[in-house]
């Protein structure tokens, strides 16, 4: 009903700016109670957003199933989603689910964890391949330093490195020195960018909510 109303954009902008300014003031001024109240609402909203994400995921694959785009994959996902949802619901909030049957914990332990661990293994292979091609793909001094640092760090974490003192050197100089300092600098820059982005939203310049 409200989608085509012309005042939708200004109203959304006003709400966004007002909410941001109020929340900012709760961190500056002693308004802990108001902050806690707003955070309670935010927490519930975040949980609802999780459900919305699940609904979006379901809708996308239902649409793909309807269009016939890789229906087997989408059907498998939807079936798995449905089974997990029903089992978790029954097991957590009712006494209808038999204890002898595998439940949500079994699904997490025996399906999700192995699958994601496998993806992590693929990641290791992918990074190995990417590191081997980095110098030819981006031939500059920084790529050479990158690969050298990588090799030294890997060796330093082995038994050989620990026993020879290389590991300690790598840890002290590379990990605790260069890497930590560089990460700090990047984090400061990221923090400044975050502040700038937030201020642009507070000023109404950036309107990611479709206003």
């Amino acid at each position: 009903m409200f989608r085509n109303l012309k005042f939708r954009a200004p109203v959304a902008t006003i709400i966004a700016i007002a909410s941001g300014i109020i929340m900012l003031f709760t961190y500056i001024f002693p308004l802990g109670g108001l902050r806690a109240f707003i955070l309670d609402i935010v927490v519930i909203g975040a949980a609802a957003a999780l459900l919305i994400g699940v609904a979006n995921l379901t809708g996308v694959h239902l649409d793909k199933l309807r269009k016939g785009e890789k229906p087997v994959n989408s059907a498998a996902l939807l079936i798995a989603l449905g089974i997990t949802f029903v089992v978790t619901l029954l097991q957590g909030y009712t006494n209808l689910y038999p204890a002898s049957l595998p439940g949500s914990q079994w699904i997490l332990t025996n399906i999700q964890m192995p699958v994601e661990s496998t993806l992590m293994g693929i990641l290791a292979i992918t990074l190995t391949y990417a590191a081997a091609r980095l110098i030819t793909q981006r031939p500059n001094i920084f790529s050479v330093l990158f690969v050298l640092t990588l090799l030294v760090t890997l060796i330093g974490n082995t038994q050989f490195g620990l026993e020879t003192g290389l590991g300690q050197t790598v840890r002290n100089f590379v990990s605790h020195g260069l890497a930590s300092a560089g990460a700090r600098g990047i984090l400061i820059g990221v923090a400044l960018g975050t502040i700038a982005t937030g201020l642009r939203v507070l000023m109404g310049i950036d309107r990611p909510y479709g206003g």
Partner: protein, 734 residues
């Protein structure tokens, strides 16, 4: 309708006929061309005409033969001329072909004979336009047109059967009374008319009378104008097969009335007056049909006969009621006789292109005609309103009542197969522009795939081999424990039995392998201290991962087996919720037991109001940002005075998070009391505590995998550098 032959006559002229409109200005036939030349149609003699020339060159002479001067003409024209001459001669001969019973000219001649006795004016006749809608004798049209001014044909000849086939096949061409033809009376050019044309004219009159038979009374049109009017034949009627008629002449019949001036041929010596007499292209001929009283008798008989035929057949050419009445009046009422009798005139035969444009109602309304004898069924009667019962009135109500937005009216066309094919082709072309092509699936470069598979196979085989066969290549790390690890050991050693320790499981399922190896020794150490564990997570999968981890076989403890620990569950909101939880965990995570009592008031949670009330907080995470959030949001609550005397915050982090957690360890006072990072940190912890749990199991495979990875990367770098150098060298040489 068919009277509008002036319009688009150029477009309807067949190619062969258009070829006859030669713009040759040689004027071989005299001072001027009988037919004004159209310079745009400079075409060569078509083959068919050449064929006619060859086949008919010695055949019957044409009617133009005598008047054609002796000069260079096309052969085909000569053939026509010869043919005409022959025909002329044949006309005088008695007709011997008994099969020409249908020869209308013969009949016309007979009728003419009777009329001649009455002293008809050959030049004045009823307008032939009354024959519009008549499908009778289409051959008369063209013949009449020719006969009106040529007069070559002797209409008084009794030897109708001697008429050549091509001539007998000619339609009678009765000039319209009020047509411009009459303005240039044939009498004006009578001296120049060919005898044969006059003969045809006379024959037509006779044939009409013969056809009509009974009707001999003169129509007013006939009295006033005996000139032969071009007889417009229904365009849809196919011409009768006269057999000997040349093709071009037969085609003339199919095209309806063909103006004599269309049959231009500069090589022919045709009187210009003849052309002018028929040059009514630009004239309004609608008035010709208004004088129904001037119709010759034979036309009126034709109308009656056609009317009878119409009663038998559905009139599919009937105009729909939506078409203005004047059209109907044009076709019907104009031919009503003065006596008030409704003379049903046969509808004109529409050309195919016009038929295609007819509305559907014109067809369906005609097809739905019920009682053929009832004239009213042919007309739509009004059923509502004060005009109910009357016919041919504007409808009081629309045929279809539309509610809401009306659909866009689409005309219904009767399309031929070719037109349908073309329309489909055009539609597909237009639709193709709006449709986007399907996404093409991209292929994977094969060399990359092969190399990835090789790396994967090598790594998996080696690591699995070491794990499966428990190859012990490397001993556990003993010396050189990192100080941050030692700090954790010292912190846990300070705990006493019964103290509450909050354990936050903040890692993802993908890194559960590493995180379990890192934190297993810490958990085992905590269990050995007989502390109370309180589990918590701000990740959706956290509580499940905690349960899965604590139920592992390597954590042998009745405390865990009996589920004596408390799992607070999942807290949504991310880092924003951590601050709330740190300040007031009871409010942030309300907990009730099976009986509905507040779980926070029961052991081991009783007395907990803030996180500061816990003896230690252990955060197990793989994400450096999550570790940072705990440090920034929760640690100030744990140590409000920032003197290091508050609740210790200990972390078990992934190796990737160590660079970002270390600064928090370095601070003074320490924001992170201690941390264990990576599998190596877990191995150090186990080694320090003298236990062999998870890190010990993975240590050898971990080392082998690391070394193998270093080897693959080094070899890959060397290989790629060498290849790049080789390629560059080759390019330089080239």
């Amino acid at each position: 309708m068919s009277s509008d032959f002036n319009q688009d006559s150029e477009n309807d002229i067949p190619d062969w006929l258009r070829g006859m409109e030669d713009g040759n200005d040689d004027a071989e036939f005299g001072s001027g061309d009988l037919f004004p030349s159209d310079s745009s149609d400079q075409e060569d003699v078509p083959e068919w005409l050449a064929g006619i020339r060859s086949t008919e060159s010695n055949d019957e002479p044409t009617f133009m033969d005598e008047e054609v001067p002796d000069k260079d003409t096309d052969e085909w024209l000569e053939s026509i001329r010869d043919k005409h001459q022959a025909e002329t001669e044949n006309l005088k001969k008695p007709r011997t072909d008994a099969d020409d019973n249908d020869d209308y000219l013969e009949k016309i001649r007979k009728l003419k004979e009777t009329e001649d006795s009455e002293g008809d004016d050959d030049d004045e006749e009823d307008p032939g336009w009354g024959s519009v809608g008549s499908d009778e004798e289409p051959q008369d049209e063209i013949a009449a047109a020719w006969a009106s001014n040529t007069g070559e044909l002797d209409s008084t000849d009794d030897d109708e059967e001697d008429l050549p086939d091509w001539l007998s096949g000619l339609p009678s061409l009765d000039p319209v009374k009020d047509s411009p033809v009459r303005r240039q009376e044939p009498a004006e050019n009578e001296d120049e008319n060919d005898e044969w044309l006059q003969t045809i004219r006379q024959q037509n009159r006779g044939a009409d009378e013969g056809l009509s038979g009974e009707k001999e009374e003169e129509t007013p049109a006939e009295e006033e104008d005996d000139s032969e009017l071009p007889h417009v034949s229904p365009l849809s009627d196919p011409p009768p097969d006269t057999g000997s008629l040349p093709t071009w002449l037969e085609n003339l019949q199919t095209a309806g009335l063909v103006l004599p001036e269309d049959l231009r041929d500069e090589d022919e010596e045709i009187d210009e007056g003849f052309v002018e007499s028929f040059d009514y292209r630009d004239e309004d001929v609608s008035s010709l049909l208004s004088e129904a009283d001037d119709l010759p008798d034979w036309i009126g008989e034709d109308v009656e006969e056609s009317e009878e035929e119409e009663e038998e057949e559905p009139d599919i050419q009937r105009l729909p009621p939506s078409i203005p009445q004047e059209t109907e009046s044009f076709t019907e009422s104009e031919f009503e006789e003065d006596d008030g009798e409704d003379v049903e005139i046969e509808k004109a035969e529409l050309p195919t292109w016009l038929q295609a444009m007819r509305p559907v109602e014109a067809v369906t309304s005609a097809a739905d005609l019920g009682d053929e004898d009832d004239e009213t069924t042919h007309r739509e009667q009004e059923k509502v309103g004060p005009l109910s019962g009357l016919s041919d009135v504007l409808p009081a109500e629309p045929h279809v009542v539309h509610f809401g937005s009306q659909a866009t009216p689409t005309p219904s066309f009767t399309l031929s197969d070719v037109q349908k094919r073309y329309s489909k082709l055009l539609l597909s072309m237009v639709e193709g522009e709006t449709k986007s092509p399907p996404a093409e699936k991209r292929s994977v470069a094969l060399p990359q795939q092969i190399l990835r598979w090789v790396i994967a196979v090598v790594l998996v085989l080696v690591v699995v081999f070491v794990l499966w066969f428990r190859v012990d290549l490397f001993g556990m790390p003993a010396a050189g424990i990192p100080p941050e690890n030692a700090a954790v050991i010292n912190t846990v050693n300070t705990l006493t039995p019964g103290q509450r320790v909050l354990v936050a499981f903040e890692y993802q399922p993908a890194l559960s392998g590493e995180m379990e190896s890192v934190s297993a020794a810490i958990i085992n150490h905590l269990l050995s201290k007989q502390v109370e564990l309180v589990l918590f997570s701000s990740q959706p999968t956290g509580p499940g991962l905690a349960e899965a981890f604590l139920q592992q076989e390597y954590l042998v403890s009745d405390y865990l087996r009996n589920h004596q620990y408390v799992n607070l569950g999942y807290l949504s909101g991310g880092s924003a919720a951590l601050l709330n939880f740190a300040n007031d965990p009871r409010r942030a995570m309300p907990l009730q037991d099976a009986s509905g009592a507040n779980r926070w008031d029961q052991a081991p949670l009783s007395g907990i109001s803030t996180l500061k009330d816990f003896a230690m907080v252990l955060v197990i995470t793989d994400d450096p940002d999550m570790a940072r959030s705990w440090v920034e949001q929760v640690q100030p609550i744990l140590d409000p005075s920032s003197d290091g005397g508050g609740t210790p915050l200990v972390m078990a982090v992934s190796a990737q998070a160590e660079p970002l957690v270390y600064p928090y360890y370095l601070t003074s006072p320490r924001q992170v009391t201690g941390y264990v990072s990576g599998l190596s940190g877990g191995a150090f912890y186990e080694s320090q505590n003298g236990v062999r749990i998870v890190a010990n199991q993975y240590w050898n495979a971990y080392n082998v995998g690391l070394l193998l990875t270093v080897l693959i990367i080094a070899l890959g770098v060397v290989f790629n550098l060498a290849r790049q150098t080789f390629v560059n060298t080759g390019r330089e040489k080239a």
